[in-house]
């Protein structure tokens, strides 16, 4: 069960209309290492987690990822909402515009539609937690490339917040993995 909370997790600020930047940031809306992949991955892996700690952690980080997906959609929307068509023409956002108008859509910056092939759920908690840690690092790296190409102070501020969350999630997944490994190693059956 989920209940929508009618607020963002972070106050998203965009200083200047910029369709090109919107087209790049959409990588985190529907790209391989984006927020949608993260949310669906963690929420899907919950059923086969063996401990209450890991069930809780995947539920809560998965839920936070959906809030991040909403933040990315808001960044994209605020970057394009006031753009006249003339400002969209000739930018990388033009190809997005002819299919989706100004609506965000879950595809990568290169225009590939989101696919469940981006994620995995192995039914094996050790494999899954390792995948999750790798996913957090890949998302962190993507945020760094996005920060490098952004010159909008508001956008940079939000991207920095999201980058930091990847690090915190990596940390929590790592702790969960260590505790789980200790527990599995201490269970001896004869």
């Amino acid at each position: 069960m989920w209940i929508y909370e009618k607020r963002l997790q972070y106050p998203v600020r965009v200083d200047t209309t910029n369709p090109t930047l919107a087209a790049m940031i959409i990588e985190q809306f529907g790209g391989a290492d984006g927020e949608l992949s993260a949310g669906i991955r963690y929420l899907t892996q919950r059923w086969t987690m063996p401990t209450n700690q890991t069930k809780a952690l995947l539920t809560d980080i998965g839920t936070e990822e959906l809030a991040h997906w909403e933040i990315i959609g808001t960044l994209v929307w605020k970057l394009v909402k006031d753009a006249p068509v003339d400002e969209i023409k000739g930018t990388p956002f033009e190809a997005h515009y002819v299919n989706h108008g100004k609506s965000p859509f879950p595809h990568s910056a290169a225009g590939e539609a989101w696919t469940a092939a981006y994620i995995q759920s192995k039914g094996d908690p050790i494999a899954d937690l390792h995948e999750d840690m790798a996913a957090e690092q890949k998302a962190r790296a993507t945020y760094e490339w996005l920060i490098n190409i952004s010159d909008d102070p508001g956008v940079k501020d939000t991207l920095r917040f999201l980058r930091e969350r990847e690090i915190v999630h990596f940390q929590r997944f790592g702790e969960a993995l260590m505790i789980l490994q200790d527990e599995l190693n201490s269970k001896k059956f004869f």
């Binding site: 209940i3 909370e5 009618k6 607020r7 972070y10 106050p11 952690l57 980080i61 915190v168 929590r172």
Partner: protein, 86 residues
């Protein structure tokens, strides 16, 4: 959205973020009593801010009560807010 509403909403967002952090930490360290005390005190603060906000500006969740007419639908929606405080 006026200045007063923005300030209160941003305060809810700040306190809400503390709860995100204490929640994830406590999921792994449920026996950390100091962290749990921190969580509980911010949970209390969050409830107070939310009731203050919702009494004035309408529900943040559909499970809340509303004055007539149903104020949950009132804009601006989260992605439409300009968070700058003049």
């Amino acid at each position: 959205m006026d200045r007063e509403q923005k300030i209160l909403l941003k305060e809810i967002m700040e306190v809400g973020f503390v709860l995100v952090e204490t929640n994830l930490y406590l999921d792994i360290q449920p026996n950390d009593e100091r962290a749990l005390r921190l969580h509980n005190s911010y949970s209390q603060k969050y409830k107070e801010l939310e009731s203050l906000y919702q009494a004035k500006y309408g529900p943040l969740r559909y499970t809340e009560m509303s004055s007539y007419p149903w104020a949950y639908i009132n804009g601006p929606w989260p992605w439409e807010i300009n968070f700058d405080i003049p």
